[in-house]
Every structure is written in structure tokens, then in C-alpha cells.
């Protein structure tokens, strides 16, 4: 083990693989070093750099909850070199991990409030860590509402998890797809339409509430606008950014928006934080 090389990853063993969609896969990873497996902690919202020797590193959030100890999960979409290489791994293979990096969701500020989670596409990954964390401490929060949207029924991730949330009596769960495909006819029980539109019809109250929004940049933009219309002020809207990263700790200069480093000052921001940043840079 190496302690003073900040670029040196931990080794983690791949212990479970789940296919979420045709191009999104979830890995369950456990530290090879038993001591680390015991001592490793992180906070919901943090991220890491996952790597394969010879292929490189890629940034993913930690998608499992910090309350689930002994392992972490990540879900990734196949988009390029490293994510393609990761897909070739099998249970038992090794994955490099650097992290956890970044700030975290301000869960302490959410206690005793109504929480509205809005997730779009693979943006449910960082949200899932927080939702599970909140549900594991359910009594400390008021009403919990989850709205999840995907492009089509084929793009829905964490199906089992969604069903479990939907089945809970202490959670209001809504789901939507942008469009229905012919083969979905009669099989889809959720909404059809874009997230901000569905949100506008859900009659959620902004009173004593915090909204947490994760998804692609365009969805975040329109969802924040809709939440504002519903009466949420910017400081009670929380989101995450996914600017491209290399180092994860403020050196490589890739992730900044103005003077704000997404890797160190984020990736979690409030909508009021975002509005203080130079607009066109994210």
C-alpha cells in the first residue's frame, strides 16, 4: 500500500454485476485490503475515480448509501474508452478506486423537512445514495417524494429499487418516461412527459421542503425553473454537477466554473450557488 502518492488507487474486487439497461451497468465493489474494508467511509454525494490498468480512469459517483457498509456500488453508462473496458470485467476482477472526493449532500440541513427527489436518467445514481441514506433514517424526515424520469421504458435503471420505493407507504413515488414506445402499450403505469411538466402537475408543497435534483444539465436547468415556480427558493434546491474531471482533487484544472472547482467545492451545489457562477460555463 502506498500512502503518499495521491494518484495511486486502492484495489477493489468486483463482487457483483447487474445490468440496468442495454448500456448502463452496476458494479458492487469491495476493498481487497480487509482493514480498508472495515475503515472506509464516505458521504452521499461523493465520487471516485474508477480505473483499469492499461485503460485509464473514469469518474463516477458512489451510488450506494454510506449506511450500507463493507462495499460501494457505481453505475456507469458505456460512452467511451474506460467505460467500454469496464464492461469487459467479470466478477472477481480488480478495479482501481481513488476517493472518496468532493463535498456531500447537506443531509443535516434536510432533517425534519419534506424531501422531494427528482432524478433523470443515470442521474438517479448519485440520488440513490442519498435516498437510501434518508430511507435508512426515515424517522428523521417528514414527507418523502420521489420523481424519476427516463427517456423510455428501456432506459429505466434500478428497477428493483424503484419497485421497493414504490411499495413503501411512507414514500410518494412517481415515474415518467419522455415517450411511450408501441410495445409499452397497456404495460406502463407511470406518467408520460418530461420531468418539469410532470412536476408541475404533482401539487408538491414548497413549505418546509428541500428538493434534490440530479440528471443531465438540460434537465437540471428546466427542473430548477419549475421548482422556482412551485415556490422553492434557490437555497432549498440541491443539485450535482458533472463537469469533466481528471484528478478529482483540484490540481488538473479541468472542472472549474469560474473560481469554483466542481471536484472540491462540489459536486453538490444549491441552485443559489449555481446562479452565482458565470452562467455560460456549465
Amino acid at each position: 500500500m502506498c500512502t503518499n502518492n495521491i494518484y495511486y488507487p486502492y484495489q477493489m474486487k468486483l463482487t457483483e454485476i447487474r445490468d440496468e439497461t442495454h448500456d448502463i451497468r452496476t458494479f458492487k465493489l469491495e476493498h481487497v485490503d480487509p482493514k480498508l474494508k472495515e475503515s472506509f467511509t464516505f458521504l452521499a454525494g461523493q465520487f471516485g475515480l474508477y480505473s483499469i490498468l492499461g485503460e485509464g480512469e473514469a469518474t463516477f459517483c458512489i451510488a450506494s448509501a454510506p449506511t450500507k457498509q463493507g462495499y460501494i456500488e457505481c453505475s456507469f453508462k458505456k460512452v467511451g474508452k474506460v467505460t467500454t473496458a469496464l464492461r469487459s470485467l467479470e466478477v472477481g476482477d480488480l478495479v482501481g478506486f481513488r476517493g472518496p472526493y468532493g463535498n456531500a449532500f447537506p443531509i443535516e440541513q434536510m432533517l425534519r423537512k419534506n424531501i422531494l427527489f427528482v432524478g433523470g436518467g443515470i442521474g438517479l445514481a448519485p440520488l440513490r445514495s442519498l435516498i437510501d441514506n434518508v430511507l435508512d433514517r426515515r424517522a428523521e424526515f417528514k414527507a418523502v417524494t420521489i420523481l424519476y424520469g427516463a427517456r423510455s421504458t428501456a432506459d429505466i435503471i434500478y428497477r428493483e429499487q424503484l419497485a421497493a420505493w414504490e411499495a413503501r407507504s411512507d414514500v410518494r413515488f412517481e415515474k415518467t418516461v419522455d415517450q411511450l414506445r408501441p410495445q409499452d402499450e397497456g404495460k406502463w403505469s407511470g406518467h408520460v412527459g418530461l420531468i418539469p411538466h410532470i412536476l408541475s402537475k404533482m401539487s408538491v408543497s414548497a413549505e418546509n421542503s428541500v428538493a434534490v435534483v440530479c440528471g443531465p444539465p438540460i434537465m437540471i436547468k428546466f427542473t430548477i425553473a419549475e421548482l422556482n415556480r412551485l415556490g422553492f427558493n434557490d437555497s432549498s434546491i440541491i443539485t450535482t454537477l458533472e463537469n469533466r474531471m481528471k484528478c478529482g482533487f483540484g490540481k488538473c484544472g479541468r472542472c472549474n466554473i469560474g473560481g469554483t472547482y466542481v471536484c472540491k467545492d462540489g459536486p453538490v451545489f444549491s441552485a443559489s450557488d449555481l446562479k452565482g457562477l458565470p452562467d455560460s460555463d456549465f
Binding site: C2, N4, N5, I6, Y7, Y8, P9, Q11, S51, L53, G54, E55, G56, E57, K77, V79, G80, T83, L94, G96, P216, P217, I218, E242, N243, R244, K246, C247, F249, G250, K251, C252, G253, R254, N256, I257, G258, G259, Y261, K264, P278, S280, D281, F282
Partner: protein, 352 residues
């Protein structure tokens, strides 16, 4: 802080000092002609250090690569096995850098120690003693230099361990700035005649200031950022940028890098994870996996470079600008882009 101590040393004495540095098995790096360019090279014989030349011409590339090489392994691997890498750190004397470059290193220190210490940079810094040449010669300052406009000073000692400046025709003033500098001098001064003096390089500052054609203060830009961020003037100034990245490569303080795995050719499963210089002027630099690019246009990327230096860094790390005004970027830009000119235009202060 050590109280300074200065001495006068003749040209001959300085040559002897260089001989001694070599005799003591230090690795000596100094500006040397390499093809058409002046660059920091390993010096094997004292005559290779051409004092006159080094006072007159700025190196094309900055000395940052002594500490932050353009490419370097951060780990090596053989199959599934990883090996840590130690940066090579021979005791080094970096001789003949400019005050702007020395200050640039202090600015980089803040980045490479921000909560996470980058040992590759820091170990090299520890192993290196910096002997700076103040820009005291008639010809040291050219029409691109603008250190005065970004809080610098052509005679300043910050970042240096020893500071040399000219003192008449055939002699130099040698100031000891740090204990590290003192250690180097003590170990290498046999046969070097040092005549105590109460002068300092800074005494010449007023006279040197007159040689600058670029004296506008750029630091003000940081206080009016929102206003300048969407400046049409800046778009007009920068739309012709080619995105070649030469500015960033030659800059003493640009520190963007990429991390990639490079398999070793002709082997099965051997290679290294390397840190490579990168630049915010490259179109793919910030492109997301989903295709979205926060800085889609070349003028947005130029703006990023200028404002990172003049507004974002000061906001994040200290009141200092990340640009030290060395002028390298404008000397080398193939289309004549010029941070000083662009920013002074934006500030509405007219052409320099």
C-alpha cells in the same frame, strides 16, 4: 525571514561558482541554446552557461517542467500489479531563471499543496535550489514583459534562494534570500571572491521600470468579473485563437494536465499511468461524455485561460494573479494573441 546579505562577485567569480556547483555533483540546469530556442538544459561544463545571453533572452519554455514535466509516470503496472513511482530528485541547482518565473513557482506551490500534496512536484521542489537573475540588464526587458501589471517586479526575490543582478560591466550583485540559498553558497564558494555590499537588486527598480512599455494594472479585472465575463470586446479579441495550446505550454503557471494510461509498446500488459500537460484551449478539454461542452467556442476557452489567471486563482488561493507577466504566451502565439492587450482593451484603457 532571513535578513538579506549581499556581496559583489566578479564575472570570473561567478564562473568559479558555477565550476564549484558542477564539482559538487549538483545537477545544474541553466538556459542554453538548443536549436533556435533558449531552454533550460543540463549543464555539464561551466562554459555552456553564457552569462550575457542569459541576461538578454527569455527562454521559450518556462522552467516549470523542471518540477512538473510535460509527461511523467505516476504509477507503473505489470499485468494486474501496480508499482509506486518516485520522481527522480537529484540535488539540483536551477540557475538563471527570471523573477517572474521564480514567483510563478510559488503560485504553483499553492495548487500542488491544496489539501492534497503532489509528491511528484513537491519532492523536486525540495531538491532544487533556485538562483535567479533579476532583469537588471538593459536588454532583459522586452515589449512583451508586463510583470509590473500583475503585482510582479523585475528585481523581486520571492521564490528565489539566491538572487543575482548586474553591478556595472564585469560584476554582479549576489543576494542570499533563503537558508537553502545560503547552504548552496557556503558549500560552493571556495575560490570565489565575495565582497560584502549593502546594495540590493531592488535599488535599481526605478530605473528598470522605465524600460517597460506595458505598465497597466491588470489586477483590477478580478473585481469587475461579471461585467467583463460577457464582454463583446473579449470575443472580438480572441475569436482568431487556433486552440493550439502553445500559450499554455510555454506559460510558467499553466498547470492543467491529463491522466492517461500508456501501455508500453512491444509488451503484454506493461505500462504506466502518466500525467501529461494539457490545456484549457483544447476543444476536448471539458467535453462531457454526453456530448455537452461547457466551453464550446474557442473564445470561451480563451476567456477561461485569461480569467483563471486574473480572477479565479486570486479568488481561490490568494490575492495574487496566476499570470506573472513573463510575456511568453504572446511571444509565441502564432496568431499574435496577447493576454495583456486583450485584457487592457477589455478594461477600456486603450492599446499599450
Amino acid at each position: 525571514m532571513k535578513s538579506y546579505n549581499s556581496s559583489i562577485v566578479t564575472k570570473q567569480g561567478l564562473k568559479q561558482l558555477i565550476e564549484n556547483i558542477l564539482a559538487h555533483k549538483y545537477r545544474l540546469l541553466a538556459p542554453k541554446k538548443s536549436g533556435e530556442q533558449l531552454s533550460f538544459e543540463t549543464i555539464l561544463r561551466a562554459e555552456e552557461v553564457v552569462l550575457n545571453q542569459l541576461l538578454r533572452t527569455m527562454t521559450t519554455l518556462s522552467p516549470k517542467e523542471v518540477f512538473f514535466p510535460r509527461t511523467e509516470p505516476v504509477l507503473r503496472y505489470t499485468g494486474q500489479e501496480m508499482h509506486d513511482v518516485e520522481p527522480p530528485t537529484p540535488e539540483t541547482v536551477l540557475f538563471g531563471i527570471r523573477p517572474c518565473d521564480a514567483r510563478g513557482l510559488e503560485l504553483l506551490d499553492k495548487v500542488f499543496t491544496w489539501d492534497y500534496n503532489d509528491k511528484f512536484y513537491l519532492k523536486r521542489r525540495e531538491a532544487t535550489t533556485i538562483v535567479t537573475f533579476a532583469c537588471s540588464d538593459q536588454a532583459s526587458v522586452d515589449e512583451h514583459c508586463f510583470c509590473l501589471g500583475v503585482g510582479g517586479d523585475p528585481t523581486a526575490s520571492s521564490g528565489s534562494d539566491l538572487l543575482l543582478s548586474t553591478n556595472g560591466d564585469d560584476a554582479f550583485l549576489l543576494e542570499v534570500i533563503t537558508e537553502k540559498g545560503e547552504r548552496l553558497l557556503n558549500s560552493c564558494k571556495e575560490g570565489v571572491e565575495l565582497q560584502a555590499s549593502d546594495k540590493r537588486a531592488a535599488d535599481q527598480l526605478e530605473a528598470i521600470k522605465d524600460r517597460f512599455v506595458r505598465k497597466q494594472d491588470l489586477t483590477e479585472v478580478r473585481h469587475k468579473m461579471p461585467e467583463y465575463f460577457d464582454s463583446d470586446q473579449l470575443v472580438q479579441e480572441t475569436y482568431r485563437c487556433l486552440g493550439c495550446g502553445i500559450c499554455a505550454m510555454s506559460c510558467p503557471t499553466c498547470h492543467c494536465f491529463d491522466i492517461v494510461d500508456e501501455p508500453k509498446a512491444g509488451t503484454l500488459g506493461e505500462g504506466a499511468r502518466v500525467k501529461n500537460w494539457d490545456a484549457c484551449s483544447f476543444a476536448l478539454f471539458t467535453k462531457h461524455a454526453g456530448g455537452h461542452n461547457p466551453r464550446e467556442l474557442q473564445c470561451q476557452r480563451c476567456r477561461q485561460r485569461y480569467f483563471h489567471k486574473l480572477a479565479y486563482y486570486p479568488q481561490k488561493f490568494s490575492e495574487e494573479s496566476l499570470c506573472v507577466g513573463c510575456g511568453r504566451c504572446s511571444r509565441s502565439c502564432p496568431v499574435g494573441l496577447d493576454i495583456y492587450q486583450a485584457v487592457t482593451h477589455v478594461l477600456g484603457k486603450g492599446r499599450a
